[in-house]
């Protein structure tokens, strides 16, 4: 385990989360989602945030994205306070959130059309490249409702990757996929990240997944979410989720996570 602020990569800080707290008030009482979360994420880093369900992981991601505002504290992106959503911090949501009025191609083109200095032909080529990557090039003219849940999430991944955002925020994006597809996408995601370097914040309750993907794994405790520890995963890439090394790291993290689990937690290794 390492202390916060200590990082292996000496790249400039891309995202700084400073003293972020958030409480939701509902009719059934208030939920203390995040409590004084401090985190620094460096340019090009792949950070996985792990914690039990309901620990405020999604809230933290939405605050970084600028979709929600913290009660206290702030988020800096490239040193500038985040005041709203922007294409420099693209989010891949837990649900695919594909647009039903567009076909598959239209969805992947959506973000690309918002990027200046691209010709229509270039946009198409990029979109086709990412559709091929997720294995759905044959479905580019399909309607969204014709796809299975896993295919939808793969289109959403292609849509998120296509504009090549500097920061990609991923909220349990592979939770609904079958194990085989998921393992294939772990490989694809690592390959893309190495080829097109970007800062990735990946939220999951699957510790094995986090150990497989992350340079660093950040442990969040249950309500209210607090940073309880950080782990570096100094393994070479591409990593295989079934390898012994990944399993060893994941066991170490689970061991550290146990005291912070609530009884109804879902965080299990290699689920």
């Amino acid at each position: 385990m390492i202390g916060p602020g200590q990082t292996a990569v000496a790249a400039p800080v891309k995202l700084a989360i400073e003293g972020v707290s958030k409480t939701f008030h509902t009719r059934h009482g208030s939920v203390h989602a995040l409590e004084n979360v401090n985190l620094q994420i460096r340019e090009g880093e792949f950070v996985c945030v792990v914690g039990p369900s309901g620990c405020g992981k999604t809230t933290l991601l939405n605050i970084i994205a600028g979709l929600e505002t913290p009660d206290t504290g702030r988020v800096l992106a490239d040193g500038k306070p985040v005041t709203g959503a922007g294409s420099d911090r693209l989010v891949l949501f837990q649900e695919p959130a594909l647009f039903p009025w567009l076909d598959v191609m239209g969805n992947v083109l959506f973000g690309l059309k918002l990027k200046p200095n691209l010709t229509a032909k270039e946009r198409r080529e990029v979109a086709e490249f990412y559709l091929r990557l997720v294995g759905l090039e044959k479905f580019m003219h399909a309607n969204i409702h014709e796809l299975s849940g896993g295919m939808k999430q793969r289109v959403a991944l292609a849509r998120a990757l296509a504009p090549n955002p500097r920061v990609l925020l991923m909220d349990e994006p592979f939770g609904s996929l079958d194990a085989l597809t998921r393992e294939q996408l772990y490989g694809d995601l690592q390959a893309i990240w190495q080829k097109r370097p970007k800062t990735i914040v990946f939220v999951t309750h699957n510790v094995r997944e986090a150990a497989c993907l992350g340079d660093r794994v950040v442990l969040l405790s249950a309500r209210p979410g607090r940073v309880r520890g950080q782990f570096h995963i100094p393994l070479p890439r591409p990593r295989d989720i079934n390898s012994v090394e990944v399993a060893r790291h994941s066991a170490e993290i689970i061991h550290a996570l146990k005291p912070h689990l609530t009884p109804d937690t879902e965080a299990v290794a290699g689920e």
Binding site: R89, P100, L102, H145
Partner: protein, 255 residues
């Protein structure tokens, strides 16, 4: 071909039975004309141009009023959905006025605009605008927030977000409002044409009115037939393609 056979046989049988009953002398001919007489009227009315002219006048009024109503109703619905102030003011007004059959505006419209095309347009606009307004409002407020969020993190905002995300997402609602608005406008216009004589043009409603005055029931029935056909044609030409698009994309039940 098979799809067309049942309706053709059905309507042929209906017309045949009707013709037969009239020829049997079940009703006085002055009250219930035979289909053959209605067809004869239609042929002569088409030949002398009255029917096509009247259809043209009516359609022009309908399309003009509907376009104005749509042009006002869509932005009004957006304002109501977007700003609380408009929801509590314009929204309530729309809700109230939607429940008023727009032919009720005829006395005031005649007083304000005289026996003019403007009065006709006003009645048509009042017939369709509130349905479109309220449907747009409902559609915009039913757009799942995740669509907006997904678009925003891809860099969409402001006008782009409205044109490329919120309004397309609300399309199924907006279309149903457009259809309801069209139906209301069509009914109001017929009522207005029967009720009010406008010297700048004789529409289908006026022809129907004169048919009654002259006790020409073959004309009355013939014009009713034309009114039905115009309604069917607009549905097939205007709304059916949009509906097909929505069924295809959203995967809702195929009509």
């Amino acid at each position: 071909m098979k799809r067309w056979l049942p309706p053709i046989l059905f309507f042929a049988a209906l017309a045949g039975a009707w013709e037969w009953l009239v020829r049997q002398g079940v009703w006085p001919r002055a009250i219930v004309p035979a289909p053959s007489e209605v067809v004869r009227y239609l042929v002569t009315a088409v030949a002398d141009g009255t029917l096509l002219g009247a259809t043209g006048v009516t359609l022009r009024r309908l399309v003009l009023g509907y376009l104005i109503g749509f042009g006002f109703g869509l932005p009004a619905g957006v304002l109501i959905a977007r700003f609380r102030f408009f929801r509590h003011t314009l929204g309530l007004l729309a809700l109230g006025l939607q429940s008023l059959p727009s032919i009720c505006w005829a006395p005031l419209a005649l007083l304000w605009f005289g026996q003019t095309e403007t009065a006709m347009a006003f009645i048509v606009v009042m017939g369709c605008v509130w349905s479109i307004t309220l449907a747009t409002d409902a559609g915009v407020r039913h757009v799942p927030p995740i669509y907006r969020w997904a678009a925003m993190t891809m860099g969409s905002r402001g006008l782009h977000l409205w044109v490329h995300v919120i309004l397309p997402a609300a399309l199924p609602f907006i279309l149903s409002g457009m259809k309801q608005g069209w139906a209301f406008a069509w009914r109001s216009l017929m009522a207005a044409e029967i009720y009010v004589a406008i010297l700048t043009g004789f529409g289908l409603g006026h022809l129907l009115h004169y048919g009654r005055e002259l006790h020409a029931m073959d004309a009355v029935l013939g014009i009713m037939l034309v009114i039905i056909l115009v309604g069917l044609a607009t549905d097939k030409l205007l709304f059916a393609p949009l509906e097909r698009f929505i069924h295809m994309r959203w995967g809702t039940e195929r009509a």
